[in-house]
């Protein structure tokens, strides 16, 4: 499927591919935990001392 923002409806239009026949090749040795670790890496806010939180608090430039 494909999502495209429709400003008039203020929602996404959903389109279905007309000719894609290949199937996904899902890795078997990955779980969502590993993917999230890769995806967010150092962008995990887990304390008020996180750099971005300090920036939002006006404690860091």
């Amino acid at each position: 499927m494909q999502l495209c923002w429709n400003a008039d409806r203020r929602d996404y239009d959903v389109a279905v591919a007309e000719g894609i026949t290949s199937k996904p090749n899902w890795p078997e040795d990955l779980n969502i935990s590993k993917l999230l670790k890769l995806g967010f890496a150092d962008k995990i806010i887990n304390s008020p001392e996180h750099d971005y939180v300090k920036q939002l608090r006006g404690l860091a430039e």
């Binding site: 494909q2 899902w26 890795p27 990955l30 993917l35 999230l36």
Partner: protein, 148 residues
């Protein structure tokens, strides 16, 4: 005065031999060069992005490969997501900025080269995972963030 040394008759000058080329025996090369490896997708990089509106994607069918979560958007714009742990959900700085999302593992068509060149410029891209093989990089697997 130097006497000229007479060379023996059985020694003749010959052209220097051409160096052996690895391509001289092309058939032998074909045998040894046959690739006999299995393909395997090795994600090495994951970027959090929205699904681009010019790419088709399919979510992983296993519900365990998705997660309802809360994120905030950093000052880098739509491609700059921070995952907020439960402990920080009620922090006064975080709370007004929270976005409830579903993070899903998806497979996209097409991906690879297009995704690389547009990375960081397309505000709709959310999350992608680099694939390890040339074939798979054309349809790279990724995960995406869908706003709830």
């Amino acid at each position: 005065m130097v006497d000229e040394v007479k060379k023996p008759d059985h020694i003749k000058l010959v052209d220097a031999p051409e160096p052996d080329s690895v391509f001289d025996d092309i058939e032998a090369l074909r045998k040894t060069a046959t690739v006999k490896v299995s393909r395997r997708v090795i994600p090495v990089n994951v970027a959090v992005k929205k699904p681009p509106n010019n790419v088709f994607f399919r979510c992983h069918p296993d519900p365990a490969m998705s997660l309802d979560a809360s994120i905030i958007i950093g000052d880098g714009g739509a491609d700059d997501y921070y995952f907020v742990t439960p402990l920080m959900l009620n922090h006064h700085v975080i709370l007004p900025r929270l976005r409830k999302v579903t993070i899903a593992v998806v497979y996209t068509w097409p991906g690879g080269v297009v995704a690389r060149t547009e990375r960081g410029r397309n505000p709709y891209r959310l999350l992608e995972i680099r694939a390890g093989s040339l074939r798979d990089v054309q349809r790279e697997m990724g995960a995406t963030v869908l706003e709830r």
